[in-house]
């Protein structure tokens, strides 16, 4: 009887161990594979269907993000069109397949992951950059799933000038664009301010700034101010496209600073924190968790 009980307890323990075994990375069940195929197909159909007044401005896909990305802060596209994103507090980068709604991989900056107030992410060739709100840049290579990659820190020295929340890479001038959310310099507070951090191999980076008067940007929209939360490059025109979570705005300006448009952001967004535009004409907006969960929303572009 005793042996029987011990055997039963052993079997239970083994079963519990198997039940608790975490799912292996990359594994999709048959049902999930079918769902993924259907999602990709739905997205293709939505992109291929002619634009009409009914569908204009409507989201073509929306993916609810896991709790670890509740404070998603920025979006960036790699050269081969993969979407990278980062949370607000930890140096942990996530790759999301935006067409199928699948978490592809995660990797961290250092082990354990470095902590910081990360606000934006961008990709320059094989190198990834994270931007903290105080203007500190974290440079690192893209890692494999579960990998901890080494990183290098660059201080732009702009913490006194403004609080940053957006970053993009402009390949035409080989510069990182650092968008100010809140300008500290009183002389520039009435401007939409973007710093350009020119990357020069073998030489120290150089800084320049682009300031566009706010009243020109706001126009007739009636916003009290403008606080960009992310910036990206339109791959078709090369314009700088920004979103502002507080004003729920979408703005586009030319690299010279001329305003292309400034309009309310389509759809419902709790707190748009990231923006990216793909080469296959999709505008991607990420939202932090506020009243609803954190999400990534896809729209047609332009």
């Amino acid at each position: 009887m005793t042996r029987l009980r011990r055997a039963a307890a052993g079997l239970l323990a083994v079963w519990a161990g198997l039940a608790c075994r975490p799912a292996q990375g990359g594994e999709l069940t048959g049902k999930e594979r079918l769902e993924v195929t259907a999602r990709a197909s739905r997205l293709e159909t939505a992109l291929a269907s002619p634009d009409s007044s009914d569908t204009r401005g409507a989201a073509i896909a929306r993916w609810i993000l896991p709790e670890t990305l509740r404070e998603i802060s920025g979006l960036a596209l790699t050269a081969d069109g993969r979407l990278l994103t980062v949370g607000d507090e930890r140096g942990k980068v996530f790759e999301v397949d935006y067409r199928r709604g699948v978490m592809v991989k995660t990797f961290t900056l250092g082990h354990p992951a470095v902590h910081g107030d990360f606000e934006a992410i961008t990709v320059v060739g094989d190198t990834v950059f994270l931007l903290a709100s105080d203007g500190v840049l974290y440079e690192f290579p893209e890692g494999a799933d579960g990998e901890a990659v080494p990183y290098t820190i660059h201080d732009t020295g702009l913490a006194r000038q403004c609080e940053f929340e957006g970053m993009a890479f402009d390949p035409t001038i080989h510069s990182l664009l650092l968008a100010c959310k809140k300008v500290h310099d009183k002389a520039l507070q009435q401007s939409l301010l973007i710093y350009r951090w020119r990357l020069q191999p073998g030489r120290d980076p150089t800084l320049s700034q682009l300031a566009v008067p706010l009243k020109l940007v706001i126009g007739t929209n009636g916003w009290d101010g403008l606080h960009p939360s992310d910036i990206t490059i339109d791959p078709f025109t090369g314009n700088y496209v920004m979103i502002a979570s507080r004003e729920k705005a979408l703005i586009a300006i030319t690299p010279a600073g001329d305003v292309v448009f400034a309009r309310p952001l389509q759809g419902v967004h709790d707190q748009g924190e990231g923006v990216a535009i793909t080469k296959d004409s999709i505008l991607i907006v990420s939202d932090e968790r506020v009243t609803g969960p954190a999400v990534i929303t896809l729209y047609r572009w332009p």
Partner: protein
């Protein structure tokens, strides 16, 4: 409750050891949680809320937000009334399941049995109430201030007898808070750690002042005096000490006294026994068989005088024995230990020194008479 007892008995093979029983309870609870989480997916979603999925893995399918689906791990605000009722019930049951063993430990792991029943019941009720309050308040600052105002209006003035009782109450509040904010993992870890630490401290009498004499050393002297009392009745050497005893201790002393009398004999008759063999063991039944087999061979006569069964500590067996002249004390103890093996913790022969002292004194008296 008897069902739980039978269930725990099944897993612990009927052991009375609190460590084994506690381990069996928590293991059973963990298995139950695994089974429920595995087969009723709604439970982790409701019980853990936003904490349900903090792990992100490669290949994880994200939920489609356009098909009208809600967050996979909604907060309490996002639940329907029925789901909220279910989630609240789950949280309350979790609190109860985690506080039940705490109340057992509270009742068991103490030197005296004079605990307050209302504290035991408070240990069960308080966390449930705290969890309920936290569920209501959640992240609302306004509700938190309202609660502070209401609590300020109530006045609790309860003096707890033992400082450890206060710690138990704090633990209850902590478990209730953790369950209320949908972090049952924290509540479980706190409950498990606390219980085992308390049991360990109780088992090894942690924190006892080393200058404070143990019960054994306290009684060695007085019992030695009793043993050599010439009239055989044995006057109590320290009346105040005996009066300070609890009834249980007085009873134990009486039994001990009787054992000593049995060895010394009474009214000048030759004693039937000349030693006490005391055995401590965790398996009294098995140890008894092994020890008696040895006593049968190695002693002239023996008698099982008393069995003291302890919970959580080794039990004690006391034998009155008449040893053979050919068999020394050490040889007898060695034979017992060799036969019983791991079934006994300690084996000792007592009073032999007192008897030696007594016979020495008799010899001296006889010599003095001869000289006179």
């Amino acid at each position: 409750m008897s069902f739980f007892r039978r269930l725990i008995d099944f897993f612990t093979l009927g052991s009375d050891r609190p460590f084994a029983r506690l381990l069996a309870y928590y293991t059973g609870l963990a298995l139950l949680v695994v089974v429920v989480f595995q087969f009723v997916p709604v439970v982790p979603r409701l019980l853990l809320g936003a904490h349900a999925s903090t792990v992100t893995r490669a290949g994880q399918l994200l939920q489609d937000g356009l098909t009208g689906a809600r967050s996979p791990n909604p907060t309490l605000d996002e639940l329907s009334h029925l789901e909220l009722a279910f989630a609240t019930t789950l949280i309350m049951l979790t609190t109860l399941a985690l506080m039940l063993p705490v109340s057992w430990v509270f009742m068991s792991a103490r030197r005296t049995r004079d605990f307050n029943q209302s504290v035991v019941q408070a240990l069960i009720f308080l966390p449930v109430v705290v969890a309920g309050i936290v569920l209501v308040v959640q992240t609302s600052l306004a509700l938190a201030f309202s609660l502070a105002g209401i609590v300020a209006g109530l006045r609790f003035r309860t003096t707890l007898k033992d400082v450890r009782d206060t710690v138990y109450i704090f633990l209850g509040i902590g478990v209730g808070l953790a369950a209320g904010v949908q972090s049952p993992v924290v509540a479980a870890v706190v409950s498990v750690t606390f219980n085992f630490v308390v049991l360990l401290a109780w088992r090894y009498d942690f924190g006892r002042n080393v200058l404070e004499p143990t019960a054994s050393s306290q009684w060695t002297g007085p019992l030695g005096d009793l043993a050599v009392a010439k009239n055989g009745n044995g006057d109590v050497p320290d009346r105040d000490l005996v009066l300070a005893l609890t009834p249980e201790k007085a009873q134990a002393l009486t039994e001990r006294f009787n054992r000593v009398s049995a060895i010394l004999g009474s009214n000048g008759k030759k004693s039937r026994f000349n030693a006490i063999v005391s055995i401590t063991t965790n398996g009294p039944n098995q140890a008894q068989r092994q020890v008696e087999r040895v006593l049968e061979k190695a002693t002239k006569r023996w008698k099982l005088d008393e069995v003291i069964t302890n919970t959580g500590k080794p039990s004690q067996l006391f034998y009155l024995v008449r040893s053979r002249k050919s068999s020394s004390r050490d040889a007898l103890l060695t034979a017992i230990r060799a036969s019983a093996g791991d079934t006994i913790a300690t084996a000792e022969m007592e009073i032999s020194t007192a008897l030696a002292k007594e016979s020495g004194e008799k010899r001296e008296e006889r010599k003095e008479k001869e000289r006179a």
